[in-house]
């Protein structure tokens, strides 16, 4: 299993640096019409780094081939089969991505403290260890609240209250 990792690392690096070099640099690195003195243009450094990264990615691919040949000779299962075999791991990883995305998009809506309480609770559930249920429930509520108090009192950080919550409170105030 370890033997194919270099190939995938090389593949990912090659694709990534190629996208940087041929797509992102031309679009997102603007060269100004006038550069003072003899200073090199702003796209020079990213180009140099991306070219080195691309060459290294290709090199990693090339160096991984003998190991790949050996792996196929020994009837090691292919990547597709391995992904299907590790479906549970993939699902868990996808779950983490969804939870993180939900936190980023949900936090401005429901507020920082409720969002962190929910995030901690979901992460405890995702660890799959339910031996200490009461600890989990207690920590999921108390820990974010304690941190909120600590940071608001000591560093005076203005944490987002949440648009939904603020809207409801202002609505209630108007009604009263």
């Amino acid at each position: 299993m370890n033997q194919n990792r270099d190939f995938y690392a090389g593949l990912v690096a090659t694709v990534f640096f190629a996208v940087i070099l041929f797509v992102l640099i031309p679009i997102y690195v603007k060269v100004p019409s006038f550069i003072p003195g003899f200073a090199p243009p702003p796209d020079m450094w990213p180009r140099v780094v991306a070219v080195i990264g691309l060459v290294m990615g290709v090199l990693a691919l090339v160096l991984a081939f003998p190991k790949m040949r050996e792996a196929s000779r020994n009837q090691v299962e292919g990547f597709g089969n391995r992904i299907l075999g590790n479906k549970t791991h993939l699902m868990r990883f996808a779950g983490i991505l969804i939870v993180f995305a939900a936190f980023v998009y949900g936090m401005p809506l429901i507020g920082f403290v409720p969002a962190t309480v929910l995030l901690l609770g979901v992460l405890f559930v995702m660890t799959g260890n339910f031996e200490r249920k009461f600890w989990m429930i207690g920590l999921a509520i108390i820990f974010p609240v304690l941190l909120y108090l600590l940071f608001t009192e000591v560093t005076h950080t203005p944490f987002p209250k949440g648009k939904l919550l603020s809207a409801n409170i202002s609505h209630l105030t108007t009604l009263i």
């Binding site: 020994n74 980023v104 941190l147 203005p158």
Partner: protein, 500 residues
């Protein structure tokens, strides 16, 4: 000089500094004692809090965390056969057999004493080596600094992981990420959104890369929980036992200092090297691995001996030798200080205060370790399923408190996923981090050199210092390629042999 030292002593001897050092040592020991938590994590987690402290207090807190975690790694190594940090891997070999024989307390005492002695020798060497090195570095200009940084990155890239190619890929990723935002002449690069125009914050990137992948790994793969801890048992370390190990402690400390001062090597290699030297030269060499005190002394003196020495290239040249000193470089920058020769010229008082504070931290390590060894044994039993999610929440609050920016929290989470992907692909994270921190300086020195020379690349080869670093870089690359070529050829031979 003496006046400045006296003034620095007064600056260090304040309650906030002592509290920071005690908190750092204790926090470091606690984090180091928990398997899976590393010194890097301890230092990166503390980084957001340093925003609210003075520069000297911040660095002392981080140094204390580093030292505490390096010693803390030995607690779980000895009592539950799981090194808390990579540098304590050798301590397991003799520490756990001693704990099983009912001598866990004795092993912990030896680990503490040798750690403190190694640490003290390392601090003294920092004091005597950093100043001459910084004086020499004052003669160095942008082209020489560019070559020095290229040399440091090459070493870190080739030593950190299994392969030089993957190390360079990691460094390139870090260098590219460092270009996001506004450059030195006001041009925007890779500003895919409005938030990205001011670049990516150093702290969310560092914490995301080093603290979060462990949590994601735990959720995805769900490994077994911590093993059961052994009892402390016999606690007394006799003078004769200490005398029997003093040679290994001194040798280990010197090995730690030498290897720690070379960028990219660090405490783990120092501990392995010192252990194997002690085993080779000791009259009890054949008993190593069965519960020999000298083995613990050799490994622990070397890994703590490297701690102070890793600060030598950081303070004198502004080049971090490993991930932890990379994070410390970030802490210096947060406070508007740039480590390197100019720090010694412009902020000598702060530098002396740091030296004195670092010396104090050795004493604090001894006191904290001695007073609370029993309590620390319980820490290694905290289940990771409770701990790691709480750490993520702590990171989220800490990151948000720095700039009150939800974008920083997004960067933290994205970098956690990137760090996990790198972990899966065996791409080492250390070159990424050091390249990300050094990136702006690296590019700045290159562009300034080219601007001075009107675009002539010959500027990088005009002085013997540049040539020296260039030769060392080439030599290092050739040696690494030779090593990898040999490995590749052996693999190929094994492949063809198995085919026939």
């Amino acid at each position: 000089m003496w006046n400045e030292l006296l003034y620095a002593f007064q600056e260090v001897a304040t309650l906030p500094n002592f509290l920071a050092m005690f908190a750092g040592i204790w926090g470091g020991v606690i984090i180091g004692a928990i398997p899976g938590m590393t010194g890097t994590m301890a230092v990166t987690l503390a980084l957001p809090f340093t925003f609210y402290l003075s520069p000297v207090t911040s660095i002392l807190l981080l140094v204390a965390l580093y030292k505490g975690s390096t010693y803390g790694g030995s607690i779980s190594a000895i009592l539950i056969k799981t090194p808390g940090t990579a540098s304590a891997a050798c301590t397991v070999l003799d520490g756990y057999p001693m704990a099983r024989a009912g001598k866990g307390g004795k092993a912990l005492n030896m680990a503490l004493i040798s750690s403190c002695i190694g640490d003290f020798i390392s601090n003294i060497s920092l004091f005597f080596l950093a100043i001459p090195l910084a004086t020499f570095a004052l003669r160095v200009g942008p082209p020489e600094f560019f070559m020095l940084m290229a040399f440091s990155l090459t070493i870190v890239a080739s030593i950190s992981g299994r392969s030089l190619v993957l190390g360079i890929i990691s460094a390139c990723l870090g260098l590219l990420l460092a270009t996001v935002g506004e450059d030195m002449y006001g041009s925007f690069r890779f500003a895919l959104s409005e938030d990205m125009k001011s670049g990516l914050g150093m702290v969310p990137v560092l914490i995301g890369l080093f603290a979060l992948p462990e949590l994601i790994k735990m959720i995805v793969f769900r490994p077994e929980d911590n093993a059961a801890a052994m009892k402390l048992g016999d606690n007394r370390l006799t003078l004769a036992e200490f005398r029997g190990s003093i040679k290994s402690i001194c040798r280990g400390s010197i090995i730690g200092v030498i290897l720690g001062a070379i960028p990219g090597i660090g405490p783990s290699t120092a501990a392995f090297f010192s252990y194997s030297e002690a085993r080779r030269t000791s009259k009890n060499g054949d008993k190593f691995g069965e519960g020999e005190l000298e083995g613990i002394a050799a490994s622990e003196s070397a890994n703590n001996g490297a701690c102070g020495a890793t600060m030598i290239p950081l303070l004198a040249l502004g080049v971090p030798g490993d991930v932890i000193t990379g994070v410390m470089l970030g802490a210096f920058m947060i406070h508007g200080l740039t480590p390197g020769p100019l720090l010694f010229q412009n902020n000598l008082g702060d530098v002396y205060a740091l030296f004195i504070g670092i010396l104090f931290s050795s004493v604090f390590l001894f006191v904290a370790g001695k007073a609370t060894a029993g309590a620390f044994t319980k820490i290694s039993r905290i289940p990771q399923t409770l701990l790691l999610p709480c750490i993520l929440i702590l990171c989220v609050y800490g990151i948000y408190s720095i700039g009150a920016s939800p974008f920083d929290v997004t960067v933290l989470l994205v970098m956690g996923v990137v760090g996990f992907a790198m972990m899966l692909l065996n791409i080492p994270a250390a070159p990424f981090l050091i390249a990300f921190i050094l990136g702006p300086m690296f590019e700045d020195n290159m562009r300034r050199s080219l601007a001075i020379s009107r675009g002539d690349l010959g500027v990088f080869f005009q002085s013997w210092i540049s040539w020296g670093f260039f030769a060392l870089t080439v030599l290092f690359v050739i040696l690494t390629i030779r090593r990898e070529w040999k490995k590749w050829r052996d693999n190929r031979d094994a492949t063809s042999a198995s085919a026939h």
